[in-house]
Symmetry: C2
Subunit: 329 residues, 2 copies
């Protein structure tokens, strides 16, 4: 067995391409394959998709089965929801690879998708491989990091995590995803379809409750538009007063004794100051403020940094609270 | 096997007594024994030492071998240095118990005490038990927490951790330990004996370097007195201008390419503002500021929270970067 871990990148959207780039930069990782369904990408060299002069010698295939190279781990960055990614995960396990996935619902599926979680766990154990869902959020900021902070608490009465993102600093698709430039009516209509807003608050909540031995009796999630009261201009949007410049999302989770977790995700253009705050009430009271946790950079880093962890971990569905800390390497 | 973990508290100084109290408060832990060398404590019930009306039914013994109860884990809180605690650790392993220790030199001994580390590791494997050295610092603030923060970094160029403690809020022995009320000459004389200042900077540095695959070529440690320029009064000290009100300690660690880690530990009476700051330079730059990480409360919490981890871990000498995240429970 060699020290170099051979990796297939599955999904070549913005996150997947950035992941492929970082894998290629790391000495102990080797990009040996790439998969995407986009006909415009299939057949091209990953180097070309990264805008490089030289190819990487890795041609994009439309299906995993068409990747000829021997590999150890698949980094999976396609979409958020079990109904969309389940078959992909099972296919990857069936092919005999460990998986690091950025799919949000996979980060802690035991509470919200228990049947799917059990199915993935069983398939992983059968294959003798490990599946880990991770990223900056879910996977870190609102779950495994606050949990690690509680290591220095004698008693935990309440956890609050608030993430504020100035979306003006982020890429266009992210600005679009949070509703930038929409009318309030359009925002609410899209919200009613159920797939507006950050995915992950239920999963983060579930990891906190389950790990700290709390019983979840109520979870309330709400998404509201953040409306511009002055014009906002970015490279991608020209938002007029009265239009949406972002979203404000909250999750509140109770035990039988009242609220135990509150999570806030606020992402809007020109939102200042940005940053993340974790507040643990208990003994002692703890406050942790983070700056610089750019979602794209951080999720790509986490996915790549976690590769060696899934190689070392026991077979099955793992979560960030089950494995040794992921670190840069 | 029962769900309750039976614990012996070894060492009943301020930290050990606080640990015994917390073990007693936890539903899934049971305090079954206590050990201390102090003749004034031997034979007393731990409840009495905690100032309680009712005993806990746990009498302090002078030696581990005199503790009759069956147990699973020993929490070891005696002293900082291998030459003082080594025999205790070997004795505990020989008796067949997992160990959580707050001994600073045990937190990451592989670089600074490689022979002792190998000896503990071999003894633990022979006994089929796990040894973990932990606490808030070393164990968390300057090593495992910054390492976990690097999980969201694509590249790490430099790590700085600065801990500032307002010692006026802390107990008398801590105020004494940092030199409060001493003359500068006395401070420097005691410092020259080599055991003044916080213990743990080399261990934290070593965990950072080893985990991030860096080669340590130089480590420089310095301790300076913080001198009062106005009178400072606490419940325990009356410090005059010109006398010492605390200490300022730094560790700088280089790779062949220059400084990679800088650690600062500053603890002084009336020092404001206090708090901890972790700064990771790289991609992205990350800043984490912590408030409320009281050293005594936090170390006790970490020791007790880590108990179930050593029960689950593989036999041998473990460090905080080798096991799943410790959390409250």
């Amino acid at each position: 067995m060699t020290d170099i871990i051979r990796v297939i990148q599955y999904g070549l959207g913005p996150i997947g391409l950035a992941t492929a780039r970082l894998i290629d930069e790391r000495d102990k990782l080797e990009l040996v394959g790439a998969v995407d369904i986009d006909p415009a990408k299939i057949g091209k060299d990953v180097g070309a998709l990264l805008g490089r002069d030289r190819g990487l010698g890795v041609e994009v295939r439309g299906k995993l089965a068409e990747v000829g190279a021997k590999a150890d781990v698949v980094v999976h960055t396609t979409n958020s929801y079990f109904d969309l990614f389940m078959d992909q995960v099972l296919e990857i396990l069936d092919a005999g690879f460990d998986i690091v996935s950025t799919s949000e619902e996979l980060s802690f599926p035991w509470t919200d998708n228990p049947e799917e979680a059990a199915k993935v766990d069983a398939a992983a154990k059968k294959a003798g491989k490990t599946v880990l869902g991770t990223g900056v959020n879910p996977g870190f900021l609102m779950d495994s990091l606050p949990l690690f902070i509680t290591s220095i608490a004698q008693r935990v009465d309440h956890i609050d995590v608030t993430r504020v993102i100035n979306a003006s600093k982020r890429r266009g698709p992210f600005q679009a995803k949070i509703g930038s430039g929409m009318s309030v009516d359009d925002f609410r209509a899209k919200m009613a379809e159920g797939r507006m807003g950050h995915v992950g608050l239920p999963q983060s909540t579930a990891m906190l409750f389950d790990t700290l031995g709390k019983k979840l009796v109520r979870f309330e999630n709400s998404v509201e538009p953040v409306v511009a009261d002055a014009p906002v201009k970015t490279d991608f949007f020209d938002v007029q007063p009265g239009q949406v410049r972002g979203l404000h999302q909250t999750g509140h989770a109770d035990t039988e004794d009242g609220e135990f977790v509150s999570l806030t995700f606020r992402a809007a253009l020109d939102e200042e100051p940005d940053g993340d705050t974790i507040t643990v009430k208990g003994l002692p009271d703890l406050t942790v403020k983070l700056q610089g946790t750019n979602g794209d950079l951080a999720t790509v880093a986490m996915a790549v940094n976690a590769i060696r962890r899934v190689q070392e971990a026991a077979p099955g569905l793992a979560t960030m609270r089950d494995i040794p800390i992921v670190t840069a390497s």
